[in-house]
């Protein structure tokens, strides 16, 4: 994989000028607010992923960059230029549409060549570029077909190739890999990262697949209802979510609600049930002593044992269910107060030799820094 000899983190450097910046951008359709006062900088060479539930405004945000929607309020600048009133064909931006928007009357090759014919590229070079793109998305055999004569996944790849062909400064990909099978999807993901590294194109990608966002993105923005909930690197989004919403949206998570009884710098204790020790975790954003809060911890950070372990956080419970996922198993453990905690462990033993089974009484434990206490 790409070596991280020099840390790529332009967002931490106040001297870097962003490629894209949203300043107080709001988009309304009638009286429905699709994008709600967003401030966001995206830097050159970033691979920026937008994540969020359906209808949260991801496509709308992209369409404003592409030049298909005007911001109701605020300014969007690309490369230092205010984009207000600049039509789509005057922007060094290409977009891969969520619906693909392939031209049904043109062949696969002509679809890919469409943008090139309207660029300064000399005619003699166009064919070569088209072939290169066809090879990239493994569609050489289908060059002469029309879009209705190929499969859904192939269409998606044509759309991708068409958007890539002009090698734009900024590439907007709206769910580019949704229809591909897992293997092809991973290959294309790495292909995209490769293209990104060789061409230096900045990517903004919408995805429903968190794993994909985690794999490809330099930063991830988690959106909800037109708001940016958190913008951060994948590991920080995963490890230190700033809200229960983000924690719950990304990956699997255990949530324990209670009251933050003592907040002491990085360490916070959460009282969550009577007669049991408070949970010790890291202090999350905006947690205040005495206020209701939630403790969130990833299942893989919860250990499961038959005997009582040495740990600063431990609870006893009964195995309710075991989900076998091949390489991993998730144990659903019910605590005496009815709370269910999931614990995930790697299956490094054969299934028959597993020593924990249904209805066993087990101990769950985790370290003081494994989970985080967040404001409700």
């Amino acid at each position: 994989m790409s070596s991280a000899t020099v840390e790529f983190s332009p967002w931490t450097d106040p001297d870097t000028t962003p490629l894209i910046s949203f300043e107080g951008v709001t988009k309304r359709f009638g009286n429905f607010t699709a994008i709600d006062n967003i401030n966001l900088n995206i830097y050159p060479r970033e691979f920026f992923a937008l994540l969020g539930p359906s209808g949260c405004g991801k496509t709308t945000l992209m369409r404003m960059l592409g030049g298909f929607e005007e911001a109701t309020e605020g300014t969007i600048t690309i490369d230092g230029q205010d984009m207000a009133g600049i039509p789509a064909n005057k922007r060094a931006v290409n977009m891969m549409f969520q619906s693909y928007a392939l031209f049904p009357h043109l062949t696969v090759a002509d679809n890919i060549a469409f943008g090139l014919h309207r660029s300064p590229m000399p005619k003699s070079e166009i064919q070569g570029r088209v072939d290169e793109m066809l090879r990239l998305v493994q569609l050489q055999k289908f060059a002469k077909r029309k879009p209705h004569q190929i499969s859904g996944g192939q269409r998606q790849r044509v759309a991708l190739a068409r958007a890539l062909a002009k090698a734009p400064k900024l590439l907007l990909l709206d769910e580019p890999l949704g229809a591909l099978d897992k293997k092809l999807r991973q290959e294309t993901q790495f292909e995209l990262m490769d293209i990104q590294e060789t061409t230096g194109t900045t990517f903004v990608i919408v995805t429903h697949d968190q794993e994909e966002a985690m794999t490809v993105a330099s930063r991830i923005a988690v959106m909800d209802n037109g708001l940016l909930k958190q913008v951060d690197t994948p590991d920080r989004i995963y490890e230190t979510p700033n809200s229960v919403y983000v924690a719950d949206f990304i990956g699997d998570v255990n949530i324990v609600t209670g009251t933050a009884t003592t907040v002491d710098g990085d360490a916070t204790q959460l009282t969550w049930a009577e007669g049991v020790a408070p949970i010790k975790g890291m202090t999350g954003a905006q947690v205040t002593q005495g206020e209701p809060a939630s403790f969130v911890i990833r299942p893989e950070k919860v250990s499961i044992n038959k005997s009582e372990p040495e740990a600063s956080n431990k609870v006893q419970g009964q195995v309710l269910d075991i989900a076998y996922l091949g390489n991993m198993s998730t144990y659903h453990v019910e605590l005496p107060n009815g709370q269910i905690i999931k614990s995930q462990t790697a299956n490094n033993r054969r299934i028959a030799r597993r020593d924990i089974t249904w209805e066993d009484t087990v101990w769950l434990s985790w370290t003081e820094t494994a989970g985080i206490v967040l404001r409700d």
Binding site: F68, N89, N94, M95, A101, F103, P104, H105, R118, R162
Partner: protein, 295 residues
């Protein structure tokens, strides 16, 4: 039951197309006679096989040879083809922008616009053609208007010229052009135009590169729907055209009703039908291709 359902269109075609066609074909092979009906031979089944053989032997192609002798006929066919083709072109010129405007109008307006296009059909076709006489004649509204605004100093002769025929056909058949084009334009996915713009087209370039090719099936359907009936048009050239406006529909009418020469008139009709078969087959092909592309 299924067979019966399938049989219905065939029976319909047999009774209302094939049988009359056979009769007209037969008349076209007969000879003119001063009798009722005005042609001979006539099939008399009571004479049996012998009579049929005699009847058969009297049929000949004489009328068709006659059509090639007199250059009036092929001139009329040619002139009809020209008038139909040019009118179709004018109808397209007027119809496409209308269809385009309708397809891009706000959604809640479209049913109203559609109604307005179909509205003229609620008045008799004949009355609408007569109305054009009132508009185009020397003392008509058009000349009066042009005189009033000072664009012309003397009335121009429009009525009873080919121009009046073009106007009449274009006006009458406009809905047949607008509706199929509108149907294809309305289905056009707006994101295709956005994609074209995204890839560097201006609005106008996107129109030529995407809208026009994708509306082709509708344009072709519309052209045939106008061209086919316009070719045999009789009412419009007789009411709006001049004495020198030559159209095969008019010739046909005169052979039948003025000359009472049914056999020659039938031959003219059969040739017209043969000419029309070509565009009809092409039209069918277009429809089929469109249906295939739709799946």
């Amino acid at each position: 039951m299924r067979r019966l359902l399938i049989a219905i269109p065939y029976i319909w075609l047999l009774l209302l197309f094939l049988v009359p066609f056979g009769i007209v074909l037969k008349i076209s092979l007969s000879d003119y006679a001063l009798s009722i009906p005005p042609y001979t031979p006539q099939l008399d089944l009571s004479t049996g096989w012998q009579g049929f053989a005699e009847f058969w032997s009297q049929l000949d192609m004489e009328n068709y040879w006659f059509l090639t002798d007199d250059d009036l006929y092929w001139k009329a066919y040619l002139s009809s083809l020209q008038i139909a083709a040019l009118s179709t072109f004018f109808t397209l010129l007027v119809g496409f922008p209308i269809a385009y405007g309708m397809a891009n109008a706000p959604e809640h307006w479209r049913p109203t616009l559609m109604l307005l296009i179909i509205l003229p059909f609620w008045t008799s076709f004949l009355i609408r053609v007569y109305a054009w006489i009132g508009i185009l004649s020397n003392e008509g509204f058009l000349n009066q208007f042009l005189l009033a605004i000072g664009l012309i100093s003397a009335p121009i002769k429009i009525l009873n010229t080919d121009i009046a025929v073009y106007i009449g056909i274009t006006y009458t058949y406009l809905p047949f052009m607008v509706l199929p084009i509108y149907a294809t334009l309305e289905k056009l996915d707006g994101s295709l135009l956005e994609a074209a713009e995204d890839l560097g087209c201006t609005r106008l370039q996107a129109f030529w590169a995407v809208t026009v090719p994708l509306s082709k099936p509708g344009v072709i359907a519309g052209c045939f729907l106008v061209f086919i009936p316009a070719l045999g048009e009789f009412v419009i050239p007789s009411l709006l055209g001049g004495s020198d406006t030559l159209m095969i529909g008019k010739v046909l009418w005169e052979e039948f009703f003025s000359n009472r020469d049914w056999p020659v008139a039938s031959a003219v009709a059969i040739i017209l039908l043969l000419i029309l078969v070509i565009p009809i087959i092409l039209f069918q092909r277009n429809e089929q291709k469109q249906r295939e592309a739709g799946n």
